[in-house]
Amino acid sequence: MNSKTLLYIVKRIGLAILTVWVVITITFFVMRAVPGGPFMGEKAISPAAQAALEAKYGLDRPLSEQYFTYLKDILTRFDFGPSLKQRGRSVTEIIADGMKTSVKLGVVAAFSALAAGVVLGAVAALRRNSVLDRAVMVITTAFVSMPSFIMGSLLLVLFAVRLRVLPANGTTGAGLILPIITLALYPMAYITRLTRSSMLDVLGQDYIRTARAKGVSGMKIIFGHALKNALIPVITYFGPMLAYIVTGSLVVERIFSVPGIGRAFVQSITNRDYPMVMGTTIVLACLIVVMNLVSDILYKVVDPRINLE
């Protein structure tokens, strides 16, 4: 790694911090501008109790003061504050609980999708126009175009209700199998198609022809030259995809009742649980920014021709 690359990375990290700060600021003020507050319910609490609660959580102070106090707390103490809705639990605790499940779900789904997608895509490209290739293309087209709530519901009805071989509820380890499959199918299909087209492109390149002409063995061409270069677009896709799966699995979490971060995030907005909204937004924003950064850096590592500047 040369100094130019290092400089680039430092610059990118600076930009990432700036991005997260902008996200924090916008979310903070937009959330407060939305009508309704955390202590509002179908049955109204007394004005006295409302005032007492607002004083307790500092919501009675000027908005700018609350904003700077919040920034200070997360910077100096890494403290996201208490949840206003789930009394007695801290935001950090709730996010940690949710992330544990979401990360497990997302990472397993993403790597399964990567493994299956690369293999299927490579095979389809090598056996171009064969029955196998066509079958893979048809199936992946179906998976790419089918929304996850339909796929999830189908799997749920089939495996949990009709066949009764897997639980419908994501509480237990076994209960995570169906959500993982549901989450993995779309990226798997996408990676298959990506690998296939990029592999076909690479196989037609001059350097592959040259290698063939020089008598390099078929296997070596595929693994040593073709696949390696064909995977570059897959790698760029993988980072953001991982972040997307971890953060955007809300629908799947609902269908299978998985206690993940997506559900906690949406609930916190409905509840106007301000510290919780801020906490989840920050964590998710960081995750996306970091994954994008990692994939850009990987890109450079895999393909030295790419100039990061």
Binding site: Q50, K56, G88, P304
Partner: protein
């Protein structure tokens, strides 16, 4: 460099393979830890699995305000009284931590004092004794301003509540040293003084807010979020808690009536997705689910006739008008009291246009009962009859208008006749031409939407244009509360079996006064009369404002110690409320759940709390 590239790729593939195996590995691990759990989908033997809703905001008895949270709390805590089911299936309130529930002794100043003796040998789940002082502490805590509990007002009946609940604008208590009038005479004797006799006092004693907590336990603010810190005194303790997912309770050996608890273990799954609940019920994993997808109801009723249960729940689904909304035609010259009376007549006519039978039979489909009065079905009078049947003072039907299917045509004709007095009716099209456009506000929800669309079409039939506006929950609450609407969807569930909880919400200062009675322009409208002299009060107001009539009436009811008179006054209050036409009741709620036929000994109360401690599960899967 090439080597490192190859390594990287290999690593990537290896990781993906490992990840692939990871999914399977997780399953294998799970099978190892619970080898008996076969097949995967069945509930663990000896346990009863239920899903009521997603995780409640709190299961601290004082802080909880949800029905599902209350169900969890009654399994963990034991108050002075409890809901019990007798052998013949009727529900009663019986003593729990108290030896008996004696009558109160009236004092000279009109207050009433109750003295309770705690049963000998009451223990917390950590073995410490439960004392009268625990109750004193818990009740003062629950009612305090500092705690800011939603249900703090449940202690309104106890003497001293007013002093303890007052706060200045900054939320600091006005009387920091004030206490409720409840005292621990000794370790096992508790006295409590109520401002006046309260018919539903025993019921309050069985309500979660009245259940005891221990001072040293609740000092840790997170006490009610972890199994290890949640010290309780009821039939069960929490043994494991995966937040937002599963609460497992096991029988509490320190509970005084532990012998009567038949279910060793309860599993409360925390989810609010009805489709997921139904899947888990259908595959035999869960024995009770508290909600089902609305569109599945007709099919479920047919497929599970025994297991699809509909019971009464004390609550009313209704439409409320903003009393300050001008609905008179632009040409109208009516002002002041005349305008208000005309608006009341118009609103009361419009409510006759709704076919409540269509709503309950074709839209909600869960056995709801068409409503024509506001105080819900299930509220009983001192003589045991239903309050709603006596409402409206009509012999031919219950309530303020006839909502039977036979009356639809006559209601419609009557409504049109009334509206003709104020609006231009076009005989050719049979519609009104100058009714101002209305907006119906509801919160985003498929069921509410279907009802909104029906109301829209019913009014469109006579030329009234209604625009539908849906808002996200808290935005909706805020809009409704501030009165920034013309008509809105509304609903109210009772907290205890006394009609006052439906009536005191409409006083001017009430936080639930969504109609805006006595607020804005309505504050000065002197259009209401009431004569309480037949009931022995020297109160007779003619052409008074809302504050001079309804507010006075509610405080009179709250201070009334004669139960029969009190109920008569509550009918007067409902008459006054309904005369405004601002409340258009649509139906009385029901509680709908699915209960496996392998469960015996289950019951629920009219507030929707569900009792599992005396259940037996005869078969699994």
């Amino acid at each position: 460099m090439k080597k490192s590239l190859a390594l990287l790729l290999a690593l990537c593939l290896a990781l993906s393979l490992a990840a692939c195996g990871g999914g399977g590995g997780g399953t294998a691990g799970n099978a190892e830890t619970t080898p008996d759990e076969e097949p995967n989908v069945a509930a663990s033997p000896g346990a009863l699995a239920a899903c009521l809703a997603s995780e409640p905001d709190s299961i601290d008895p004082a802080l909880n305000s949800s029905v599902d949270g209350a169900t969890l709390i009654i399994h963990l805590f034991s108050g002075l009284a409890k809901w019990d089911q007798t052998a013949d299936g009727t529900l009663t309130i019986s003593p729990d931590a108290a030896e008996a529930l004696p009558e109160g002794v009236p004092n000279d100043d009109g207050t009433v004092t109750y003295t309770y003796t705690l049963r000998d040998g009451l223990k917390w789940s950590d073995g410490e004794p439960v004392t009268a002082a625990d109750f004193v502490y818990s009740w003062n805590r629950a009612a305090s301003v500092e705690l800011g509990a939603d249900y703090g007002y449940m202690f309104e009946v106890v003497k001293g509540y007013k002093e303890i609940s007052e706060a200045d604008d900054d939320g600091n208590p006005v009387n920091p040293d004030a206490k409720l009038s409840v005292e621990a005479v000794d370790e096992r004797t508790l006295t409590v003084t109520l401002s006046n006799a309260v018919a539903y006092w025993n019921e309050l004693l069985a309500f979660p807010a009245y259940m005891p907590v221990r001072e040293d336990v609740v000092a840790d603010e997170s006490w009610a979020t972890k199994p290890e810190t949640l010290i309780c005194n009821g039939p069960y303790t929490i043994t494991s808690w995966t937040h937002d997912s599963l609460i497992t309770m096991e029988k509490n050996p320190n509970y005084i009536d532990a012998d009567s608890v038949t279910m060793e273990k309860l599993e409360f799954y925390l989810s609010d997705d009805e489709n997921n609940m139904l899947s888990n019920f259908q595959n035999g994993s869960w024995q009770l689910i508290d909600d089902v997808p609305t569109n599945e109801i007709p099919k479920l009723k047919e497929e599970y006739p025994e297991q699809f249960v509909v019971t009464g729940q004390i609550g009313t689904y209704y439409v409320c008008w903003n009393i300050n909304e001008d609905i008179l035609p632009a040409s109208s010259e009516l002002t002041g009291v005349e305008a208000e009376n005309a608006k009341a007549e118009i609103r009361n006519a419009i409510t006759l246009l709704f076919d409540r039978n269509y709503i309950v039979n074709d839209i909600t489909q869960a056995g709801q009962v068409p409503a024509s009065s506001f105080v819900a079905m299930g509220m009983t009078e001192p003589d045991g009859t239903e309050f709603y049947k006596n409402a409206g003072h009509n012999d031919a039907f219950a309530g303020y208008y006839d909502v039977s299917e036979d009356a639809i045509e006559s209601n419609y004709a009557a409504a049109v006749e009334t509206l003709k007095k104020y609006y231009t009716f076009d005989d050719a099209t049979q519609t009104f031409t100058d009714f101002p456009t209305l907006t119906y506000l509801y919160n985003t929800n498929e069921g509410h939407k279907q009802i909104a669309e029906y109301l829209q079409s019913a009014l469109a039939g006579i030329g009234i244009t209604v625009n539908l506006e849906n808002q996200e929950w808290k935005t909706f609450l805020n809009t409704r509360k501030t009165g920034d609407y013309s008509i809105a969807r509304n609903g109210w569930l009772a907290d205890y079996n006394d009609p006052i909880c439906f009536l005191d919400m409409w006083t001017t200062a009430s936080g639930n006064n969504d109609v805006q009675f006595g607020k804005g322009d309505h504050a000065s409208v002197a259009a209401y009369s009431m004569d309480l002299t037949p009931y022995g009060y020297d109160i007779n107001v003619q052409d008074g404002t809302w504050a001079q009539t309804y507010d006075v009436l509610i405080s009179t009811i709250k201070a009334c110690t004669d139960n029969d008179t009190r109920y008569q006054l509550m009918h007067v209050a409902e008459d006054l409320l309904m005369s405004t036409g601002c409340i258009a009741p649509l139906y009385f709620y029901t509680d709908l759940y699915m209960l496996s036929d392998s469960v015996e000994g289950f019951y629920s109360n009219p507030l929707g709390f569900k009792y599992f401690m005396h259940c037996v599960v005869t078969a699994y899967g």
